[in-house]
Symmetry: D2
Subunit: 143 residues, 4 copies
Amino acid sequence: MTDIQQRLEENLSQQAFMTSLGARVGMVMDGEVHIELPFSAHLAQRNGGLHAGAAISIAHIASAYAAVTQLGAEKTAVVAEIKINFLRPIMGEHFVAIGRVAHKGKTMSVCTCEVQAFQAGTVRHKVAALVQATLVHVPNHKS
Amino acid sequence: MTDIQQRLEENLSQQAFMTSLGARVGMVMDGEVHIELPFSAHLAQRNGGLHAGAAISIAHIASAYAAVTQLGAEKTAVVAEIKINFLRPIMGEHFVAIGRVAHKGKTMSVCTCEVQAFQAGTVRHKVAALVQATLVHVPNHKS
Amino acid sequence: MTDIQQRLEENLSQQAFMTSLGARVGMVMDGEVHIELPFSAHLAQRNGGLHAGAAISIAHIASAYAAVTQLGAEKTAVVAEIKINFLRPIMGEHFVAIGRVAHKGKTMSVCTCEVQAFQAGTVRHKVAALVQATLVHVPNHKS
Amino acid sequence: MTDIQQRLEENLSQQAFMTSLGARVGMVMDGEVHIELPFSAHLAQRNGGLHAGAAISIAHIASAYAAVTQLGAEKTAVVAEIKINFLRPIMGEHFVAIGRVAHKGKTMSVCTCEVQAFQAGTVRHKVAALVQATLVHVPNHKS
């Protein structure tokens, strides 16, 4: 496990809301981070799918962590604003939010994120939501 | 209790994710709905404040419900997209998302929403986040 | 004329695109700036109304200038991102973009803006577009 | 020239604001449209670069036209809302807004758009702005 993957997993484990959702850090690359979320009854919308709020929550973290992969250990990235389009009901057994850095500036990053929904027994995922977000680089105060 | 307030409370109670957060319907007026959320340990960010994901989740519902108050019982409103600016760490014991209809069109509504944070022992709230969202009017399929 | 009004008018006069549109600085208050735009044939959309691009352009400047009113002369505000909802065709003889600061932080401001359309011979305007934007405070390099 | 390219060029030529900017339809593919804009003195910001308002204007049209390529002749696409991040000053002699359909639904499309700036004498462009927009499909009333 790389140093950055370890740092992100540690960071996520310190966010009570993320652990209560059941979110996990998946793949971590330079400028790209996957956040995985298995479906669970307490995450449901009325239609039985994933609640939009849970989908935004993992998209938010995936976007922030993608930016963090391009900053040194002394800095972290905070979401100044995030915009998300919902494309369809978010039905599935498993969800992945893939955050990617679209542009890294001196004091800010712009990230995009795609929330993918996977149904059991089907080969391909469906894209459920698309994100564009603005992140600010700030000093990293260790917990 | 008005009919629309009852419908919204019933709707919220059918959203497992909202009840798992601890969200409640507060004031309901024509074109304005308050969603209340008491702080709870499972909603926390690393800094001990409310997680941004939980804040967006109640802002999402407040915006949708505000639009619903201006539609008949045979229609509901779905969030097509939502954009949220975070203004500060979301510290407090109690939070309220106030969704308001800024414009009601024939097939869509545009809503704004403000997430307010209340600390015990202080008189005034702080505004923690601002939202602008696009809602689509769709037929209401009863659960 | 106040100092800040003069500074904004001077600034606008140095933006060739704004003068080619025919935009003018209207009212200037602490945290609020109006940009006025008379309709002109070269600003038209196919429907004979104001082109959305022209409407966004004045909303962009009104938002930035609103933020500038709360900064000292040594700083200015740059639009990091802007989001605009169009509410109806932008028909009228005269348009005003009203930018307002919703939140001023240490390094950024969040502004909202409303684009109003005025028809001759009618008493009230129609709101044509709504904006939420993120501004970054940067050093002001005099031209 | 394909039928859809001809329709888009005709449409653009009927938008006085677009012709006053000097914008042209470039490449047209299924779900992707390029709008080209040569730099001109009347499009300038104070810094001598392209004004953000002009950049948004071509991004707006590129996004709408990308959606239109996937609709029949009896429908067109209207921008319900658009969000744009500015990544750097927009310096160059030539600009291209590349609109792409990210998702086509039954009544709406979501498009992304990238505004590229080309300097003379350099091989590669710089990405100046990123867009995510929501388009509504509406009946096409011929002019």
